[in-house]
Symmetry: C2
Subunit: 349 residues, 2 copies
């Protein structure tokens, strides 16, 4: 390359579409034996033998799903892969491949895409999946990322949203509400920055919740844990839109009701302290926040002894007859109907 001290941004058209994909995926290795052929042909070839295949897809749009003023591109690449893997784990399946397509405006140089793909490669490495395809194109404005995740599962082990039965226990992994609060902190700092660009924010008190927003993890470990515990959930979903919204999905698709106990909802101490600071109700945040990428599942009562000692799994309620409806049982023992107030990209202005 010719040295140019005035220009650090390599324009994408210098490489062209084929050169770009080759360049960005040059050091992506194939790790799964199910991947027969990866990037570089009309299609990838995969072979799952006698296993079933699970497929999920998501589209992330700049200004709707992410804000590059505080989301580093490497984190964005990582998150774009992880949120799709979460859907695969929510089927009780093992994620094996992704395809990643991006549309970028000419505002982005090669170095920006390298950072994005660095995050994609990091996620692929940590979650042991192969990037087997993709498309790179220009856009008229902004960045759009489309990821399709593929996984394998013994057909009889797959867990749908529709299998919950009355009296099943409602179980959630990890803790919830943190990602949404991290978003609130980042939005606040962005406003402060606009007023005073020299201000150095002190974010030490928010490290956990900010990381939950910028670098979420998918619960691959839970699929393994459930196998080790010999528990097959009766239904399962990942928490992307907020706990209440996901509970309603399970209830509707399983034709059951639910009693959710406010006092049982697992919250990180940083969520509680930040809610106090922001004068927000932590239960509302947990119910409606979204982007936690924890797993929400129902299990049969007889499996309770297998899970009760596990710190990763918290029983937060139980399923009822559909006629009983879906309720939050408050700390004051009141029953309030659950409403879907999850994050909905179509309602954003």
């Amino acid at each position: 390359m010719i040295e140019d001290k005035n220009e650090k941004k390599t324009t994408l058209s210098e490489l062209g579409e084929f050169g770009l994909i080759e360049h960005l995926t040059a050091n992506f290795s194939i790790k799964n034996k199910t991947t027969i052929l990866g990037i570089g042909d009309d299609a990838a070839i995969l072979d799952f033998k006698d296993k079933a295949v699970v497929v999920s897809t998501d589209l992330l749009v700049e200004g709707v799903h992410f804000d590059l003023s505080y989301m580093p591109l490497k984190h964005l690449g990582y998150k774009a892969v992880v949120v799709n893997l979460s859907d695969i784990y929510a089927m009780n399946a093992c994620a094996t491949q992704v395809t990643v397509s991006i549309a970028v405006s000419n505002r982005f140089g090669l170095e920006a895409l390298e950072a994005l793909y660095d995050g994609i490669r990091t996620a692929a490495s940590i979650y042991e999946i192969d990037v087997v395809g993709g498309d790179t194109t220009s856009s008229q404005s902004g960045l759009t990322i489309s990821v399709t995740a593929i996984g394998e599962v013994n057909a009889s082990d797959a867990v749908k949203r529709s299998g919950a039965k009355p009296n099943d226990l409602l179980v959630v992994t990890g803790d919830i509400g943190a990602a949404y609060l991290g978003f609130q902190v980042l939005e606040r700092e962005k406003e402060v920055f606009k007023v005073n660009p020299n201000n150095q924010p002190d974010l030490d008190a928010y490290t956990y919740i900010i990381e939950r927003q910028l670098k979420p993890e998918a619960r691959k470990d839970i699929v393994q844990l459930l196998q080790d515990l010999e528990v097959k959930p009766t239904s399962m979903i990942d928490i992307s839109d907020g706990l209440s919204s996901e509970i309603i999905h399970l209830c509707k698709q399983s034709n059951v009701g639910c009693d959710l106990y406010e006092e049982k909802i697992p919250l990180d101490p940083q969520v509680i302290s930040t809610c106090e600071e922001f004068n927000l109700d932590s239960t509302t945040i947990a119910l409606s926040g979204g982007e936690d990428y924890e797993l929400l599942m129902t299990i049969s009562q007889e499996d309770y002894p297998k899970i009760k000692a596990n710190p990763n799994l918290t029983v937060i309620g139980y399923m009822t007859d559909a006629r009983s409806g879906m309720h939050l049982v408050t700390r004051g023992d009141e029953k309030i109907p659950l409403k879907a107030q999850g994050w909905n990209s179509l309602n954003k202005d």
Copy 2:
């Protein structure tokens, strides 16, 4: 619904993200026995038994890949699916499922998305594939469509780009150059319309080339034909970026050269007459035009008797040693190096 005589555009936020996907895919039926579970869970479940799986993905961006001023939304939905299926057929595979994600600005109402999905459903019906997943979200501007196509193939039947050998015949299906010329006609009419919106264009002389641009078809029939003829190509690719660009892909990935004969390139009479009218060289259009979605393949010389009588298949050249390079042999018997001048979305301004 409440009647409102002043408002024909239903805003998307009235339905919400979940309501929207449910509404748009409500009458999509499942046709393939490989589809165990379609839309409505965290992921689709597919079961291909002992067959290999092929996966391909594409992103279509408004203003880059399509212009809604002359592309009806129903056609766009159809085309978005078909161009992805073309990649599956280019592997010599049978397309079985797609996922379709869309990002739309608030410029689009429900009726617009219904038209788009009508085209998607029509393509799914004609090509006998299932729509098993997707995502619907808002965008800050314009329409973006991401399609992932999935197919099945006996692992030993899959045809890559990399298997061509010297002396293999270079074979193309159908005719080429028409889609690009259709695009030129539509662009011209758009300019005329800007000057005089009351002008009614007479497009009778261009019906074939305009249809090739607005409603292309993928060569599913060729995969069946090759099976019937008992011919397995040594390499294959679909023509999306222009004949010369695709030939170069096959040559580079197979490490061979090629002699392409100008006089053998199959052109529709409408391509020839329109090229004359526009004062364009038809060979240049065929080599660089793109979006034909025909299949380009190499076959062993010994298979020639099986294909020679077939009107769908035209021998346009043969493969050589890599050292001989890649050439166009002109009608005047000159040898000109082949250059990739295909359509490249990253070079668009």
